[in-house]
């Protein structure tokens, strides 16, 4: 019962955007404002994308709380946080344009919390020198997605929801000009013909056991781009957020916003010590408080006191928590304590952190106005991804663009909190402009090769005809177990090699997966079609992690615990040519001298 061409309906648009989170929607608004027909495809309902879960805020040097803030300070914080592996031009554009993008959200109806003089309030966050995160309590992502969602709705953007893309399609000369996917509700295939494709598919966390990410984060965009021949960079750089819930087990990994620490929350071990003072790295020593008194004073006075080590960049805090637990100073359920109860009044906690209050009360039975939270690292964010041109977000394959988490380079080896939401709107807009230019310069009609579509469609339905195979749920659980154990927060060569072997076996097993029932809204089949992305992504992360024989940002090697200055000058680039998966170091873009000077002493 093979799928043939006549089984597939097709739709034509100027621009196809895969993903309806912040980046996808901002891109769509841009292409639509240029008068281009625009389709947005998403795996869930419209408005449920992972952006909705972002809590703490959106980083932009508006200078509303600290007028001395500016793009250069934001740029410097971002690149130092990224351990100098960032694409400097992306980091510069991001720092320069983020304030305008925040104000634009306000002009589209977003209601950020206010300062006393009626401007947008900004909160402190890890790695940011000044209070810089515009926010709405601890539900900033929800505000952002609703604002963009209703703006997009008002502009007549076509949304294809609960639709999964299986493969990007190229024409005979290799230009990306379409995609094949299926509707979850019916299981029917749909083919898009388009002049440009923007990937805005977000993250990858579902390949790990404990993650803050939802079922959607299966690395689809990373896998689609790789298969289409695009260059992928920094795939080893995965962020483990230091504070995920650890109990109950069923919510292990669920995010606890860094805003808790931004608003005064502190980390303690089982001996009631503020252990972060023992983990201040050389790079941040000069600007980090070394006594509790100074750290506490900093919250109200950034000029005479240095910042608390509780707000070191995420990679530092996650490693510190990991070490404390390993040393036997963890909390009862294998995390550490995060205390806000003794730092703010109950009313302040409920006002500033309402969803954290509810989340712990309803899911863990913990009242955070009276008790400390138990937290530990959780797989959170992918710094690596599609290599793009900073100005246009064009990938290395013509017709393909990428923005947001699926793109690499912006965050280097570690992302600062708050820089993701700003990344989405800054580069979502730029990807929209880049794709619009490409579409406007496109002559003729897109001619995606039908054989590619049929191959992808028939691969997708294979589990229905394969009898007595194994369950996709088992395969997923085994992959998650493998990545959690062997490609987690602390890595070694032997474990990574073992992981690569396991992934190869899992890829074989993927051909022997069976699915029962019909194609109509069948979650086991849907999972079976996500597994190829998850495996491809996992392989890229593991290969990258083997090659980067140093510790940098989110990538920590127990067998190479220090950064290697030479490796700090290269991206590891992975690509597929003629079926061969290659990986090699390539030099970073050279930063101009005037920006380099920002990293010298005195700044």
């Amino acid at each position: 019962m093979n799928i043939v061409a006549s089984d597939i309906t097709s739709q034509s648009f100027d621009v196809l955007i895969i993903g309806a989170g912040g980046a996808g929607l901002r891109a769509a608004i841009e292409t639509r404002s240029r008068g281009l027909s625009t389709a947005v495809v998403c795996k869930s309902l419209f408005g449920k994308a992972h952006t909705v879960m972002a809590e703490g805020g959106i980083a932009a040097s508006l200078g509303n709380v600290y007028p001395e803030d500016g793009w250069k300070v934001h740029f410097r914080d971002t690149v130092r946080g990224g351990k100098m592996l960032n694409n400097w031009r992306m980091a510069q554009l991001h720092a320069q344009e983020a304030p305008d993008r925040v104000l634009e959200l306000e002009a589209w109806g977003a209601l950020f919390d206010r300062t006393g003089d009626g401007r947008i309030h900004q909160r402190d966050f890890g790695g940011h020198k000044y209070a810089r995160l515009a926010h709405v309590g601890d539900r900033t992502g929800l505000e952002m997605i609703r604002t963009l969602q209703y703006k997009a709705t008002s502009m007549g953007i076509e949304v294809f929801m609960e639709c999964k893309i299986l493969r990007l399609l190229t024409d005979s000369s290799g230009n990306v000009c379409g995609a094949i996917g299926y509707w979850r509700a019916s299981g029917d295939m749909i083919l898009f013909k388009t002049k440009a494709v923007i990937l805005a598919t977000g993250g990858i966390g579902k390949s790990w056991k404990y993650t803050s990410n939802s079922w959607e984060s299966t690395g689809d965009g990373h896998a689609l781009a790789f298969q289409a021949g695009a260059d992928m960079i920094d795939m080893e750089c995965v962020q483990f957020h230091p504070t995920g819930m650890v109990w109950p087990l069923s919510v292990r990994g669920l995010l606890v916003t860094e805003g808790v620490r931004g608003d005064g929350g502190i980390l303690r071990n089982s001996e009631n010590q503020r252990f972060m003072f023992n983990y201040i790295p050389e790079m941040f020593r000069a600007e980090t408080a070394d006594t509790e008194e100074e750290a506490d004073r900093w919250y109200t006075d950034h000029s005479s006191a240095r910042r608390t080590p509780d707000l070191l960049p995420r990679d530092e805090v996650a490693r510190a928590i990991n070490s404390e637990v390993k040393a036997g100073r963890g909390s009862p359920h294998g995390g550490v304590f995060l205390d806000i109860a003794t730092r703010l009044t109950a009313d302040e906690i409920k006002r500033k952190l309402p969803s954290m209050y509810t989340q712990f009360l309803e899911l863990a039975g913990v009242d955070i106005t009276r008790q400390p939270m138990e937290v530990g690292p959780t797989c959170h964010y992918m710094m690596g991804g599609v290599r793009v041109d900073a100005e246009t977000e064009a990938a290395t394959v013509p017709g393909l663009f990428a923005a947001g988490e699926v793109a690499g380079g912006m965050h280097g080896a570690n992302r600062l909190g708050g820089n993701s939401l700003s990344d989405l709107v800054v580069f979502g807009r730029r990807a929209g402009m880049g794709a619009a230019d490409h579409a406007e310069g496109f002559s003729g009609t897109p001619k995606p090769e039908m054989e590619q579509a049929l191959e992808a469609a028939n691969q997708a339905i294979h589990p229905f005809s394969y009898e007595n195979g194994e369950s996709p749920y088992t395969l997923q659980a085994d992959l998650q177990d493998c990545m959690q154990r062997l490609v987690g927060i602390i890595r070694t060569e032997a474990e990574l090699r073992q992981a690569l072997e396991n992934i190869s076996e899992l890829k074989d097993r993927l051909n022997r997966v069976s699915v029962n029932g019909g194609k109509q809204y069948n979650p086991s089949w849907n999972l079976a079609t996500d597994l190829p992305s998850m495996l491809s992504l996992s392989e890229m992360v593991t290969r990258g992690a083997i090659e980067r024989k140093e510790s940098r940002g989110g990538h920590t090697r127990d067998d190479y615990p220090q950064p290697d200055p030479e490796l700090g000058k290269v991206n590891f680039v992975q690509r597929k040519r003629d079926g061969e998966h290659s990986i090699q170091p390539e030099p970073l873009l050279e930063m101009p001298d005037e920006l380099k000077s920002l990293f010298e002493d005195g700044h």
Binding site: S44, V52, Y150, A185, Y473, G518, P523
Partner: protein
Amino acid sequence: MTEVTMNIWRGDSNGGNFEQYKLERVEGEVVLDVVHRIQATLAPDLACRWNCKAGKCGSCSAEIDGKPSLMCMTRMDTLPDDTITITPMKTFPIIKDLVTDVSFNYVMARQIPPFTPGEPEPDGTYRMQQVDIDRAQEFHKCIECFLCQDVCHVIRDHEVNKLYYAGPRFFVKLASLEMHPLDTVDRRALMREYLGLGFCNITKCCTEVCPEHIKITDNAIIPLKERVVDASYDPIAWLGRKIRRKSKMTAQEAYELAPARVAPTSLDGIPATAVED
């Protein structure tokens, strides 16, 4: 370890029935965890929606022992019985099992004229005081789980009313626009004539099921009703309009500003055939 029986509606638009699944209870689980365990072990094709598993996205709406709820925020240990019944939301057409077709809501979203701000300050930015946005921020907490739409008897019991009635979710949306300090569009006549605000007879069922604890009836719908009445009948409303930043619009004028690319029906000159209880 005790056992629990999950009584789950299985079927599609052609009909269906209840299937029972027996599982061990696990400490700390929510209903959605149990549904996921059923998928992984007993019924791989059992359909349900979910995303964030933290009460933030509003995807996993269903009726648990008859009460419209988020499956991800309903702790198993808060449900006293050893048999728990889960059914899909009743107000929307079934797609499969616990998944319903909620496109009514996306169609309705297009009937609402979008946010339209006035002129910014000379520096290009806007000023708003926190006290002036507190109420609208309450409405912005909405996660679009559509449980309020599900429970609202105006459409739950009378399918035909979906042509004439935006429902609590969109009254909350309209209230957030009405009370947004920067917005300039007057949607009051539109609410009265096209969007069915009058059909709500304030039974507060929507407020009871709202997982974000938005006081939908008291803080959104009743104030909207008052403003609509003021706009239509109040002999001294002209005084209010003098100090109001929005100039008065007819329903048709406001509707022309709406995206409304896919209207549920022609909304022009709707005959008054909706059903009232």
